[in-house]
């Protein structure tokens, strides 16, 4: 699971004359984790204390000069480095007030970027692809700089990665619609060039993001059609390979793009399973492409979304649990949290390599596509999938739909079924939502029972069944869906209380806020129920068999704890909860006492294990011994 928290504005942005230009060149960290170095598109560098939203210092170059690369912090010398007018490298310290008086060096070629990261020396990437360590460059600024790239090849994006004695500079280039990735390893220096696969539309990627995971460099890139691809390059090896390698890619995510293509959008990997995408539409909202969303790439599920006011510049930075997004006239900081999702816990693993999504779910091989298409269909966009037939479920009455579903379910082809069941369910749910009179409980139940469905495939189903008070279907879903979000679990709780709810997987952090939505009466009822269940089971602990659909003692206790955590103050105030609480307290007390007594017995009995058994345990015997 992932969540976006309440954000705040770090600073306002100066509008540039050219609307397509971003008002910010870059955001970098310095030695303090709460600091951000923001370089605007013109002349100034500002250091902010993020939590206070307060500038700590600002440096500006003279009128007429222009900063051409984001300022970076040299972690080794504690100095800031920036490049003005492509060729002038400026180095200054925190206490320097005037940038003009700071150290300057003019180099012989145009600089693209200076990159710096903790644990590594800053490196300078020239526009023609050459790479130098900053130190060695400053010691001889007038040294010749070679051209690596061909005439018309231009750098689009670059980054550097420092990890455990390895230092990489990665940059992508574009030349006549062909994109390449260069991986420059430093110490020893090797350069490897990879050609990115061409997208059918011929478009170039909108954004790149790179990370080092499990000794592999992962490159994530977003195309205007909403596809997020991942390519993996081994961090070691291939050193000897000459020439240009083709870089294989895998589709990690298909973000629904709505009408038209994405303009200014950007994707950044948050961890191995989560991607933040800015400048995309929210699948369930119709307004423009001005959302920040976190997607789970393993399960193709939208985890969190937030609307960003104003025009999105397609820029997102991710530092230390915070996303920095420039939009409209502001730079916003949005804290986020990613956790192993309940679905992942339920399945027992997270996929590390990028090929998940196809195989991670037991329910289907291409759920990713399905879910996206379903989302599309809800928004009444033209379907991109070949439906099995021109179906009655679009318009037909309930019994016709029922027949169709039966026909579909009775067909044996599992592979095909997986696709169509998901589609069908989505259509039915969408139609039910649109037409209040239309509801097909039997058909839906049949579809759920195929076990090809999960919550991500058809997010509306469970809520729909709740709406219609179809508890049978609800129960069925709770039983069979492994990936029910906590908010929905709570919604179910509100409506009815069951053994199945308690058994659904959840994670405390995400459940707690939603549990708070329950009102007092519901809480009391729920507590009473839990106490009843606990008492019932504690009476016959041994008869509990794992195969039965009953929650374990631990599950019950966990829920009691959660419920009390969420509502303790309310319950203390509520007069009608008093009896229940004191009951619960005395019950817990007696249990604690019982267990402490059991603990004593246990340690005593444990001693018995240590004792050796003697063959002779009689109280009296007459034995013969011999002495010499």
């Amino acid at each position: 699971m992932a969540a976006l928290y309440e954000g705040f504005t770090l600073c306002g942005l100066v509008q540039t004359q050219n609307a397509s230009d971003s008002p910010i060149q870059g955001i970098e960290l310095d030695g303090d984790s709460d600091h951000a170095v923001v370089t605007d598109s013109t002349r100034s560098v500002t250091l902010y204390k993020v939590s206070d939203q307060k500038p700590l210092g600002s440096w500006t170059v003279k009128q007429g000069q222009l900063l051409t690369c984001p300022a970076v912090f040299n972690f080794q010398t504690k100095e800031y480095v920036v490049v003005s007018d492509n060729k002038v490298i400026r180095v200054w310290k925190d206490e320097d007030l005037n940038l003009d008086k700071a150290f300057k060096a003019t180099v012989t070629a145009d600089v693209w970027r200076v990159h710096s990261a903790p644990g590594g020396e800053p490196v300078v990437l020239f526009q023609r692809g050459a790479v130098r360590f900053l130190d060695s460059l400053l010691s001889a600024p007038q040294q010749p700089v070679e051209d690596v790239l061909s005439e018309e090849e231009v750098i689009r994006w670059s980054t550097n990665i420092v990890a455990e004695e390895q230092h990489f500079v990665l940059f992508t280039t574009e030349q006549k619609g062909e994109c390449c990735l260069y991986v420059q390893r430093l110490n020893p220096n090797t350069l490897q060039k990879y050609r990115l696969e061409r997208e059918d539309s011929g478009a170039s990627p909108l954004s790149f993001s790179a990370s080092l995971q499990d000794k592999h460099l992962n490159l994530l890139y977003l195309y205007p059609n909403g596809c997020v691809y991942q390519s993996v390059v081994a961090a070691r090896g291939y050193v000897g390979l000459e020439g240009v390698q083709a870089l294989p890619r895998s589709l990690r995510l298909m973000v629904p793009v709505g009408e038209g293509e994405l303009g200014a959008a950007s994707a950044v990997a948050l961890d191995e399973a989560h991607v933040a995408v800015v400048g995309v539409p929210h699948p369930s909202a119709r307004t423009g492409k001005d959302f920040l969303c976190i997607w789970n790439t393993n399960f193709q599920t939208l985890q969190a979304g937030k609307e960003m006011a104003g025009r999105i510049h397609g820029q997102v930075w991710c530092y230390l649990g915070k996303l920095f997004v420039s939009h409209g006239k502001a730079l916003s900081v949005i804290p986020y949290e990613c956790q192993k999702s309940s679905l992942a816990s339920a399945l027992g693993k997270l996929r590390h390599t990028g090929l998940a999504g196809n195989a991670a779910l037991p329910h289907g091989t291409s759920t990713g596509r399905i879910s996206i298409k379903c989302n599309c269909s809800q928004r009444n966009v033209k379907l991109g999938v070949n439906c099995v037939q021109p179906q009655p479920h679009q318009t037909g009455p309930v019994d016709e739909v029922q027949r169709e579903v039966e026909a579909l379910v009775s067909r044996g082809d599992a592979q095909d079924l997986q696709l169509s069941v998901g589609q069908l369910a989505c259509h039915l749910v969408a139609r039910s939502q649109a037409e209040t009179a239309f509801y097909t409980p039997v058909a839906l139940a049949q579809l759920v029972q195929t076990q090809f469905l999960c919550h991500s495939v058809c997010p509306g189903l469970l809520l729909l069944s709740l709406e219609h008070k179809d508890y049978f279907l609800c129960q069925l879903c709770l039983q069979l869906f492994p990936d029910i979000p906590e908010v929905v679990t709570c919604a179910c709780l509100k409506t009815f209380i069951s053994n199945e709810v308690l058994q659904t997987p959840y994670s405390d952090n995400f459940l707690l806020p939603h549990l708070k939505d329950l009102d007092t009466q519901q809480v009391i009822l729920f507590l009473q129920y839990l106490q009843f269940v606990y008492l019932k089971y504690s009476q016959d602990v041994y008869t509990q068999t794992p195969g039965l659909r009953s929650p374990t003692m631990t599950q019950i206790i966990d829920w009691v704890c959660l419920l009390l955590d969420a509502h303790f103050t309310v319950l203390v105030m509520a007069p009608d909860a008093k009896g229940l609480l004191s009951n619960l307290q005395s019950f817990v007390k007696s249990q604690v006492k019982l267990f402490s007594e059991l603990g004593k017995i246990e340690s005593s009995l444990q001693e018995l294990h240590k004792m050796k058994l003697s063959k002779d345990i009689s109280q009296y015997s007459i034995e013969v011994i011999e002495l010499f």
Partner: protein, 768 residues
């Protein structure tokens, strides 16, 4: 050498009671130990920790604290009385009601002029120590809440008092409370419980160190009343504190059974001036609460609920390894609690509250070494005799014919006539004992059961003539030395002529009982005799001392025998001298006059005087080696000391022989169980909870092994000449009931460490 039949008896249900208090007298090197049953034991630390004296307990007495003033011993307890003990008559000299409710603590100032007690009613009472008694002087300012612990400042002008949730400092001359130190409560659930300051010490630099029920050891500045440092050492209670003489070290005892040392040292080598109290070492020698502690010059002495006294040497104080640098655990009394009527085959068990009389079982089978013989008759409990009155039994005796039984408490002696007629037993109290016979330190019947000897005050012995019709005072045997010390050992010869006594002054007197006069005094040796016996045929007196030395003295010739001189000249083997429990019984093999039998808690030993003495290079414990040798090789490896440390060793072998016999008995240690968290209250201090729990698991029990003579062989000897021997052995963990919960780790399985030999008695054989 021979085969023996061992009677293993595991129904001596003796359990020492928990240790509640102790006080060490550095001047006399005596440790006084108070137990839950009100008994007081005196250990001589200068003489191998020998348990020199035992003042028996009393139902109404409770000991909460002990205190020495010079050579005088005081105790105070929850019965509200202060008691001074007479260490010569082994009884309380007087008891004084303090009128302050239960007394939690008693302590004297360093000058020895005053005693301070802490009472339940919140008063600290001062008593002046007079020549023969003590006298109430005054109260210090009365406080709200009980006074749990007290400590005088060495100057004697201030007293620190541990209370509930606080420590008070009193100015003694004015009696005013001058400081109030608030003690924090525990965390979590214990927040609502008052913190009991179980123990305080007041150092000469006005530092106060306290231990409390929240598990804290706190260091305070007594001048300003400020807290200097808190050490959280346990989840439960810190019960006892003791400071070393030079005030450089403090030890604390916790209810987890640990003893933790704090030392006043500089934390770094650079700053030797800035010393602070630093936790240095943790010892875990107890399974339960450590209730009493003393830090002596070279060791930490601790005791508690698990009933054993542990002497933990501080190894940095020793230059070389010796018996003194070894950890010592004293679990059982250093004297006999089991007696055997050899002619009748009866066993007498002495408990503080009752006597038990058992008839040994019989078997008529013959077996190889290692066999358990089939029982023809099971052992049988004949009698359970409860004492009368409040005083606990201090000594008892059974005549060898099984016809007389006597016991003494502090206040009275009782004599019974026993008649066993096949399976019936009748007991009748002998009325009208001579008035002079009021109490006895030791009792013993002559071998022909015609006389009863009772050790009385000032080392004198009363001789009482017994007959079917009457019981008559004959004479008082008095030592010439005029010693006022009590007799702790008494033995007489089989021919009825000699009686030997030993007292705490280490004097051994031999009396001629027929002439009723002193025959001779054995030259005084510096260590207390722990056991002695008179040889049935040669009338040589064999003595073993607390320091493990063995002497043989010819009563007839009034001089040490040649063997004894030879033994002293050559010296005992170091392994013998380094043993850590005293020999508690000496007896002789009737069939081989050259064999002496002795035992301590862990082993029994047969000394064959005809064999060469082992020198230091000889393998001392050689039974295993001997077994592995062939019969031809064996004689060249034999030496005089034949030691059976474990029954396992004894079980193997195939040479049939003749044999004497022995019994053994003793308690076992209780099994560990989680420490009970104790509140403040009397029930928490009673030992019932513990023992109940203990018996639930394994119980306290005892192994008694008796060696009875092989009847086949015995028939060759006349009954009078055939004095077979009985050893008592105890302490193996044997189950009291055959429940699966109590499995046995006894002697039989080779766990010698659990075995303890407590007493021996002579057992005569039946005439065929």
């Amino acid at each position: 050498m021979g085969e023996f039949k061992v009677h293993r008896v595991r129904f001596f249900d003796y359990m020492p009671t928990a240790i509640r208090a102790m006080a060490f007298n550095a001047h006399t090197e005596r440790l006084a130990l108070g137990r839950m049953d009100g008994s007081v034991e005196i250990f001589n630390f200068a003489d191998r920790y020998f348990q020199e004296k035992v003042i028996p307990g009393k139902d109404s007495r409770s000991i909460e604290a002990l205190c020495w003033v010079g050579g005088r011993l005081f105790s105070a307890g929850l019965n509200g009385e202060i008691t001074e003990y007479d260490l010569e008559t082994l009884r309380p000299k007087y008891s004084l009601e303090a009128y302050g409710g239960p007394i939690w603590t008693i302590t004297s100032n360093s000058q020895g002029a005053h005693l301070a007690i802490g009472c339940e009613d919140g008063t600290v009472k001062l008593f002046e120590v007079l020549e023969e008694s003590i006298q109430f002087e005054r109260n210090l300012d009365r406080q709200k809440g009980r006074i749990i612990s007290l400590s005088w400042h060495p100057s004697g002008t201030q007293i620190a008092a541990g209370m509930m949730d606080m420590i008070r400092v009193f100015d003694v001359p004015t009696g005013r409370a001058v400081q109030r130190l608030l003690v924090d409560r525990g965390f979590g659930g214990s927040k609502s419980r008052e913190t009991v300051v179980w123990s305080v010490v007041f150092l000469s630099d006005c530092t106060i160190i306290s231990g409390d029920s929240a598990g804290k050891v706190q260091v305070w500045d007594g001048h300003t009343g400020t807290l200097v440092k808190t050490h959280l050492v346990t989840k439960w209670d810190v019960l006892a504190l003791s400071v070393s003489k030079d005030e450089s070290s403090v030890v604390v005892g916790t209810s987890e059974g640990t003893v933790i040392q704090f030392q006043f040292i500089a934390p770094t080598l650079q700053q030797q001036q800035d010393k602070e109290w630093v936790r240095t070492r943790t010892f875990k020698n107890h399974t339960h609460d450590v209730r009493a502690l003393a830090e002596i010059e070279t060791a930490i002495v601790s005791g508690g609920m698990d009933t054993q006294l542990v002497v933990r040497p501080l190894l940095e104080k020793f230059d070389e390894r010796s018996h003194a640098s070894a950890l010592r655990k004293i679990q059982f009394p250093h004297r006999n609690l089991v007696f055997c009527a050899k002619k009748a085959g009866l066993l007498l068990f002495q408990f503080p509250g009752q006597l038990e009389l058992w008839r040994l079982g019989e078997s008529d089978g013959h077996g190889k070494p290692g066999d358990s013989l089939p029982l023809k008759r099971k052992p049988e409990k004949l009698l359970h005799l409860k004492r009368k009155g409040e005083d606990h039994i201090c000594c008892s005796a059974l005549s060898s014919c099984g016809g007389w039984l006597a016991y003494s408490t502090m206040s009275s002696v009782r004599l019974y006539r026993l008649q066993t007629d096949n399976n019936d037993i009748s007991i009748s109290k002998v009325p009208k004992l001579p008035k002079i016979l009021r109490s006895a330190h030791q009792l013993c019947f002559s071998s022909d059961s015609s006389k009863l000897f009772a050790a009385s005050s000032q080392s004198s012995v009363l001789v009482i003539a017994l007959s079917q019709s009457e019981c008559k005072y004959v004479h008082t045997l008095k030592p010439k030395s005029g010693s006022r010390q009590p007799i702790h050992l008494m033995t007489n010869s089989v021919d009825g002529k000699w009686l030997a006594t030993a007292n705490s002054d280490c004097e051994i007197h031999v009396y001629n009982v027929q002439k009723l006069k002193l025959h001779c005094i054995v030259p005084v040796y510096g260590s207390c005799p722990s056991a002695m016996g008179i040889h049935p045929t040669t009338n040589n007196l064999t003595m073993v001392h607390a320091d493990q030395q063995i002497f043989e003295y010819s009563i007839v010739e009034k001089q040490y025998t040649d063997w004894s001189r030879k033994l002293q000249k050559q010296g005992l083997h170091n392994l013998w001298l380094d043993r850590d429990t005293p020999v508690t019984h000496v007896t002789f093999n009737p069939k081989n006059p050259e064999q002496i039998l002795l035992h301590d808690m862990h082993m029994f030993c047969i000394i064959d005087q005809s064999l060469p003495l082992p020198d230091q290079k000889t393998q001392f414990y050689n039974q295993m080696t001997l077994r592995s040798l062939s019969e031809q090789e064996r004689p060249s490896h034999l030496h005089a000391f034949k030691i059976c440390k474990t029954f396992q060793v004894c079980f193997n072998g195939d040479v049939p022989g003749y044999l004497p016999c022995s019994t053994s008995s003793g308690p076992s240690r209780s099994q560990p169980f989680p420490p009970n968290h104790r509140g403040l209250g009397w029930t928490s201090q009673s030992s019932t909870g513990q023992h109940k729990h203990t018996s639930l698991i394994t119980g306290a029990y005892l192994v008694v092994a008796a060696l009875t003579p092989d009847r086949r062989r015995c028939s060759r000897y006349s009954s009078s000449a055939c004095g077979a021997h009985t050893l008592s052995q105890s302490g193996s963990r044997a189950p009291r009931r055959p429940a699966p919960a109590a499995s046995e780790v006894g002697v039989g399985s080779g766990h010698s460490s659990g075995a303890a030999w407590i007493g021996t008695a002579d057992l005569d054989t039946h005439s065929p």
